[in-house]
Symmetry: C2
DNA sequence: CGTTTACACTAGCGCTTGCTTGGTTGACCC
DNA sequence: GGGTCAACCAAGCAAGCGCTAGTGTAAACG
């Protein structure tokens, strides 16, 4: 119960936990199931994490930080015009479903199981991510690429995107590129 | 353990269960909590429902049937043109959040907790609802009101709509009418 | 060399869970 | 006015839960 750092071992355990949380749900995943999946006994688990809650927080933190990093990188590398920026954000979002799908599903479905302190810490991360979106949506609104209420448009877009975890198959025919293009086409007016 | 009908008492218990499932989540809602909320003892609960799973199924069934009925009624009463039909569907969807919000939240968040047989029964209901949507979206595509891939467009729209349960406040300023208009405006091309 | 550190183990405590059992109550029915 | 039946209760069982305490061990350190 001494460690709170981010050792490589802990990272790996977090990845395994994410998978189980998706399969079974947080509440139905017991510490014994987690331990077995990790190849250790249940007692040993509490050497790496203070309690079960902390495992959940670690999973969500990991996923959100990756998504945020990827989105920032995508914005840095793309053209400066609003349409390219919208496209880059959508593509980055869908690409994280390839690498961090489990963590994202957990973040969406098990958010309410976080205790208050973990939630407030993580909501800052999530707000930062959504702020990126609102920024590029604002730019698109400013030049008339999109029309409508700022608040509503961003909610609708976040909804369409977050919903993709329920049906998108990263191994299927459609690439993140395709989906991003289609989504942007749907919500933008022809120039 | 004798009853499986839909007595008025059972309807009321189902409504209360929906509320608790939203507050606490299905797994964290104990049969004792349910019983207390209903003003009976935990043992008596199993006179009305075979087991805890059946309560969950009842909640989701009730909500989905209502949504389906409301959507059909809305389609019957509106104009025959594609835009009016899209609008009617969106408005009906948002209006169910006024009357059946709890059941809808449960259906979205706790779907995976259903056992296989309940799931297959309820997925028919849900498919019927989504089929209504795909129908009106097809009509809109046919006349060029919307453009894009049939499959992707309907997923994006379902996502934007289902996501509303996370942020929409039915008691706030915006009416279902407003939201529906804004959503349709976002995805349709000017004629 | 002795000490510390990281990681794992065994064993189990105290509590809660979904559900069962066996029985009581009061309204209705012929 | 005996029978039926939905509705409820008290009591508790077997299983499983998160987590703790105390110990072992092998590598790393000064």
């Amino acid at each position: 119960m001494n460690v709170m750092n981010d050792s490589p071992r802990r990272k790996e355990l977090t990845r395994l936990a994410a998978q189980l949380f998706v399969q079974e749900g947080f509440d139905r995943t017991t510490v014994r199931m987690l331990a077995q999946e990790m190849g250790i006994k249940s007692g040993s688990l509490f050497h790496h994490f203070r309690d079960k809650q902390e495992i959940l927080a670690a999973v969500i933190e990991e996923g959100t930080e990756n998504a945020l990093g990827l989105a920032r990188a995508a914005l840095d590398q793309c053209d400066r015009n609003p349409e390219a920026r919208l496209h880059a954000m959508a593509r980055a979002h869908l690409e994280t479903l390839l690498t961090d799908r489990n963590a994202h599903v957990v973040a969406l479905y098990e958010w309410r199981r976080l205790d208050p302190e973990a939630r407030s810490h993580l909501s800052h991360l999530r707000d930062a991510y959504e702020a990126l979106w609102e920024e590029v949506i604002d730019e698109a609104l400013a030049v008339g690429l999109i029309q409508g209420d700022r608040f509503l448009v961003s909610r609708f877009v976040m909804g369409a995107l977050n919903w993709t975890v329920r049906w998108y198959d990263p191994l299927g025919e459609r690439s993140p590129e395709d989906l991003a293009r289609e989504l942007i086409a749907m919500i933008t007016r022809p120039a």
